[in-house]
Assembly symmetry: C2
């Protein structure tokens, strides 16, 4: 059960060596991505590889200055992509009808399943990975940066490289907080207390509360990390991107 063990020991890496990744290794990792399930075997995604140092420095700025983005040797930007499929259809006397929200979401699913396979394969080679949530926040700027045509939207990015740190496992909520049987059993206030008890009692939490001078861990999320104001702003960025990239013709 080596695979299971690999999955259970995943840790996000935020410090990387500058050692390059062999092309043969990178190709294999990407191939693992292609093997992920894909809707109707359409493979409606693309992967953009960034290795050039100057480019990675620019990408680092776009990803809110997260140092690992220029530190790691490879960045992989996963895009929902109907452009290639649409071009194929047009060239084969078929009228594509994929300029709508469902098609975007279908392509995003394809891209995300492929990304997770790539992440798992990379770790099998002793590489470390980190997902960048900033990809959707900065989708408009990444579209400009990568020259993405209509039908293509970046949905996530993987930083990939050899780890320069060996962090411990991160905490996770207990299974009863995530899994439901047959029906969704909504959470009572006692359930919520139980589910978050371990997380709230971690030394890391105490440290964060001290640093941020706040009363609860939840406030760190709502007031510092993921604020309503930012979420609303980036919602509108992403919706405008979907419009501009031709995914909102829903009539």
């Amino acid at each position: 059960m080596q695979t299971l063990e690999n999955l259970l020991s995943h840790k996000t890496i935020r410090n990387y060596k500058s050692d390059p990744i062999d092309d043969a290794v990178l190709d294999k990792i990407l191939e693992a991505g292609f093997r992920a399930s894909t809707t109707g075997n359409m493979q409606v995604y693309s992967i953009i590889v960034s290795k050039d140092e100057e480019k990675r420095k620019e990408l680092c700025k776009l990803h809110f200055g997260q140092k690992m983005v220029e530190q790691a040797p490879v960045l992989l930007t996963f895009c929902a992509d109907f452009n290639r499929f649409n071009k194929w259809c047009e060239q084969r006397d078929a009228q594509p009808g994929y300029d709508n929200f469902l098609s975007f979401f279908t392509a995003a699913i394809d891209a995300l399943l492929a990304s997770q396979n790539v992440a798992v394969a990379a770790e099998d080679y002793g590489l470390g990975i980190c997902y960048l949530g900033t990809t959707t926040y900065q989708a408009d700027k990444l579209i400009e940066f990568f020259d993405l045509p209509k039908g293509v939207v970046p949905v996530t990015t993987l930083v990939v490289g050899y780890p320069a740190e060996n962090p411990g496992l991160t905490d996770r909520l207990p299974a009863k907080g995530i899994v439901h049987y047959e029906k969704y059993k909504d959470y009572s206030s006692r359930d919520i207390d139980e589910i978050y008890e371990e997380k709230e009692s971690l030394p890391l939490t105490a440290k964060l509360l001290e640093e941020n001078q706040l009363e609860t861990l939840a406030q760190i999320f709502t007031q510092k990390r993921y604020t309503q104001k930012d979420n609303v702003h980036f919602s509108n960025v992403l919706l405008k991107v979907l419009q501009d990239q031709g995914f909102m013709n829903n009539k």
Copy 2:
């Protein structure tokens, strides 16, 4: 490189034995899902396990009558879920601002990365899996079926069980069709011909063209499998679901 080999030999399974899955095995597979990367370690997803035979029969109907849905012993419905997180915030004197499109998409990413880990772990146990794209088409009906509260939207489903078939590897596009270096290089008509050449020359393609009495494989997609009319219809279903589940307050 057992993990890499597992990833490279993935095949979607559409015929299952009725053999049940051990609870201990199911728990481990789900645990592998929890270990996937998650935005800010929020784990904003839920997994609904369907094992009850009557329930699976009903779900089979909701998933367009795909027989494997009632044949396989376990169905896992992965939901983008901010309900639990919102309840936690409210109980901890924090004002959640996650009723917007960005938050939905963030939660969907979480759910999809977890689902792919579950798929890979299941295969490590000799189980087979199949993703159900019908989940987003029928999101409104699944919300009713599972009793999903506001803040919860189903995004994908995994059928899981012991395989009753051993299909060959499915074709995939060549890497040059998927991977770009540094910038997106848009496809020329010659590129498109090359990328789709192998797929178009498969015996399976010839068979499909004969069965459907159509000229090109692309037409099978646009006229039979994923038509504009269906895509537009299901786009509106999904957008209404996002509205109804409280994910479109973007002001």
